[in-house]
Symmetry: C2
Subunit: 219 residues, 2 copies
Amino acid sequence: MKAVVLLSGGLDSTVTAYHAKKEGHEIYALTVNYNQRHKKEIQSAKKIAKTMGAVEHKIVDLDLRLFGGSALTDNKIKVPDTPARGIPSTYVPARNTIILSIALAYAETVNADCIYIGAHCLDYSGYPDCRPEFIQRFQQMADVATKRAVEGRPIKIMVPLLNMDKKQIIEKGKALGVPFELTRSCYKEGRKSCGVCDSCRIRLNGFKEAGVRDPIEYE
Amino acid sequence: MKAVVLLSGGLDSTVTAYHAKKEGHEIYALTVNYNQRHKKEIQSAKKIAKTMGAVEHKIVDLDLRLFGGSALTDNKIKVPDTPARGIPSTYVPARNTIILSIALAYAETVNADCIYIGAHCLDYSGYPDCRPEFIQRFQQMADVATKRAVEGRPIKIMVPLLNMDKKQIIEKGKALGVPFELTRSCYKEGRKSCGVCDSCRIRLNGFKEAGVRDPIEYE
């Protein structure tokens, strides 16, 4: 069975991709280049797709800097080095809605039965579009949105990490043989990861709690 | 009040835009260039946005030819000259889901309260993502997808033409002073409109029934 996997190049999407492969799926990897500050993750995604033996890897360009409104798509907004209260400035308006929508198009054209996304709602940054209720309503919308859906074969959204914390995700990744060294989580543009942004902090803490060495380089 | 309007350059989106303006909104026009066969409609959208006094007009590139799967995004699939049974080959997988998602991002960044889309479910081509149930479920998803939604100010999807037929849309457009001569409906790439594709046929028939002259050129 074919599955589209949203592969950002980060830890969560990579563990999700390896999980989907373990489940027996042929992997159609999809990366959305939204002109994010941390574009280096796209190079990671390419290496991961190749390493894991994805059937195909599509990289779709959609320049969300045209709109801005996030520390990840507007250089005038700084990536915070300390945890925020509420939804942080790294929230990208409607990002997961957009990337899931593009995945829906890809899945329908390659005739994939499902879409895997690495969203989870523990140890995350409080983004509205990572919550279970968002995923559930996206599914309900997808259930009427496509030709496949009308034909009684709606595309399913699979969120295997939804209720895991970072420690569990890393343990799962280790068990699946995920090449952690190829993944990149940092929100910043530097060659090495910063180690202080939300994404780096959550990652480092997860590796620490899991008792696994994080093989990537930090500043 | 600010409103994002999805403006393809076609008849329906143009009437919708003029309706939104009449309702008192400041218009933030959004056109998605998905590398459609009938790219000429984007030139129409530019002229219409300018003519109607849109505050801003964003044209976002997202190349759906990367996926193909539609007569509008794959030159190997011919645009049909006769009505199809069921969903026609001009259906573009997940197109309305994608363009509404991008509109959601735009609306959130400019702080618009609503998004207008010219979808309607009478005199249309049977696309699944033009149906009322699709719009309703997209709204329910949008109600939990954004930061604005979490803050209790979800962005509303407005579909003023939803239950109108083409005759009524043209009559409404006439009453609103829509510059029909700037709109383009044809699915093909020629300079003049073909007059025989689904989109041209529905348009011509609508003008005929409304007793209004269609000012654009046909082959």
